[in-house]
């Protein structure tokens, strides 16, 4: 499922578009160490952590789409790193739980 399709389902907008960025599972977490340890490759990460380190973690675990909840803004350095590393960022006004519900057809992506 592409970042654009994800955005459509969660009242979101693609803030950092990346061609071909897609996810076939979902992982929800604000604790980056937990994401690091458990998120599966190819997942979309649903989080409120709107900073550079989120991109680092996503790059390492192989996650190509970040969904930022509660309309958290994307700081320029984060947007830059995301574009560079090929991680798409979707912003949504919804909460993590609401996003998970709206995308509940995606399987949990756990490592």
């Amino acid at each position: 499922m592409t970042a654009v399709e994800i955005a459509e389902k969660i009242e979101g907008k693609v803030e950092v578009p990346v061609e071909g960025a897609s996810a076939d599972g979902l992982y929800v977490g604000d604790l980056l160490s937990d994401v690091m340890g458990h998120a599966g490759e190819g997942c979309a990460l649903v989080t409120i952590q709107n900073h550079l380190n989120t991109i680092a973690v996503c790059t390492l675990v192989g996650c190509a789409v970040i969904v930022l909840c509660h309309s958290r803004p994307v700081p320029p350095d984060m947007a830059e790193a995301a574009a560079r590393e090929g991680v798409a960022i979707v912003i949504t006004p919804l909460s993590q739980y609401a996003v998970a519900r709206a995308l509940s057809f995606l399987p949990p992506a756990e490592h």
């Binding site: 604790l31 160490s33 690091m36 490759e41 973690v57 192989g62 320029p76 350095d77």
Partner: protein, 340 residues
């Protein structure tokens, strides 16, 4: 109009402030690809070491005209609206221009000031302030202490002045050091399958954390190491890198690839772990709130690294160092094949 009560603690601004405000520091020059010395400076220095403590402020009920006068007299482009240490808002030159345009220059500051403020905390490392200057267009930020009281103002000029001074001191030190002979620089000695590289990890610099792990993942990819193994190595490298960054005085992360194993070693300069068994427990952490708010410091780093490694070792001496070694077994031919 009544309450004209500006808290002028002391005026000490000059007009070159405005010039500097228009010339933002290049973030790449200070924090991106710069040397370890600069990175350490940016971490060692806190906002409070650099900020101006003399604050020119105005009260909420004072008029915008009074604000304009104060700004003109002191040649400043932003005025905190502050009473008894509490920051209520900021009046900027733009607010004054709008007020003149729209005829509300005699309204009180509180009716038109900006209240959605971006502030820095006095204890934040300077690198954080630089990132704020980069991420927002403001020329200066109000600085609050841990009790949310306004304690200073920081501008790019303040940062620059402090850095230039400290850099000259550091450079002198380095020059002395290099005069004593410097051929100890570690290089990645690469024989057929052997590979070694080191990364310096700077204390508290979360914005850089992950660089070493990312490089390592890249190196493993280039050497066509099995993806699953590469991921485990990257996870350990990242966790250990973050650990050095948030818990130690700084250290070195080393990647070693040999015929049948990949080893990640993280060695720091202290403060050491008093109770290793406790530190290895899931959820055990000494991290502060700031680190936790970034999504780290939940006490999962060491358990995570231990879990992904085939062999794990930790040594520590309080006041001296901590050294963590994670070993990953690889099939012999994996490395040999790709070096052909």
């Amino acid at each position: 109009m009544g309450e004209y009560n500006p808290t002028i603690l002391q005026a000490q601004h000059t007009s070159d402030d405005e010039i500097l405000d228009k010339m933002p520091l290049d973030p790449k020059a200070l924090g991106g690809d710069s040397s370890v010395v600069i990175m350490e400076l940016l971490q060692r220095f806190k906002v409070r070491d650099v900020m101006k403590r003399k604050i020119i402020a105005i009260s909420r009920k004072a008029s915008l005209r009074e604000a304009q006068k104060l700004m003109r007299e002191n040649r400043i482009s932003g005025l905190p609206v502050c009473e008894e240490g509490r920051l209520y808002g900021i009046v900027s030159v733009n607010d004054i221009i709008n007020a003149l345009d729209n005829g509300w220059i005699d309204d009180s500051c509180e009716t038109h000031m900006a209240t959605n403020l971006v502030v820095l905390e006095a204890g934040m490392p300077l690198a954080f302030a630089l990132r704020y200057f980069n991420n927002y267009t403001y020329g200066r930020f109000p600085v609050l202490d841990s009790e949310r009281k306004l304690v200073g103002i920081i501008s790019q000029r303040d940062v620059m002045r402090a850095l230039l001074y400290e850099l000259s001191v550091e450079i002198r030190k380095l020059e002395r050091k290099s005069a004593r002979g410097a051929n100890a620089a570690p290089e990645h000695a690469t024989s057929a399958n052997f590979f070694r590289r080191e990364w310096a990890v700077v204390r508290n610099d979360l914005s850089r954390a992950g660089h070493a792990a990312n490089d390592i993942k890249q190196i493993l990819r280039e050497r066509k190491i099995d993806r699953v193994v590469a991921r485990r190595v990257a996870v350990a490298a990242y966790e250990l890198e973050i650990n050095i960054c948030i818990h130690s005085h700084g250290g070195i992360l080393t990647l070693l690839i040999s015929d049948d194993a990949i080893t990640i070693t993280a060695k720091d300069r202290g403060p050491g772990i008093p109770d290793i068994a406790w530190a290895l427990r899931d959820g055990a952490s000494t991290a502060n709130d700031w680190i936790r708010s970034m999504g780290f410091g939940a006490g999962m780093g060491l358990p995570n690294s231990k879990r992904v490694a085939d062999d794990f070792d930790i040594q520590s001496e309080v006041g001296k160092f901590t050294k963590v070694t994670c070993l990953f077994k690889i099939a012999k031919q994996t490395v040999a094949e790709e070096t052909k």
